[in-house]
Symmetry: C2
Subunit: 70 residues, 2 copies
Amino acid sequence: MDVLQRLGQNIRRLRRARGLAQEKFALQFGIDRTYVSGIERGARNPTVTVVQRFADALDVPIAELFAEIE
Amino acid sequence: MDVLQRLGQNIRRLRRARGLAQEKFALQFGIDRTYVSGIERGARNPTVTVVQRFADALDVPIAELFAEIE
């Protein structure tokens, strides 16, 4: 699994754990839902500061978004 | 300290721990030395796949490049 897929799956897992639908998360996070969907599918290559915004929105350290998938 | 500065300091720390001068690291890594310098200074906002290349070159998990600075 490449780093973008792993990042996307971690974001999706954490978002769902917080009971947030993609639409609501995108609204709350102030970003386009299709962009969130693209990142969760591993189809986007975001910059570090965009990943940091996801980490802040999910209230986790940025390193956690790169954790290995069990 | 913002995420880009932290990333840069971690890359610099790990590069130096491997006894690699910036010039040699850039050559070995196949990237422009001024780009490496910019990232180490926290002045660049690389994409996730570029950060993954640094992690591979330093032989560490990508998450380690975002570790908190003691």
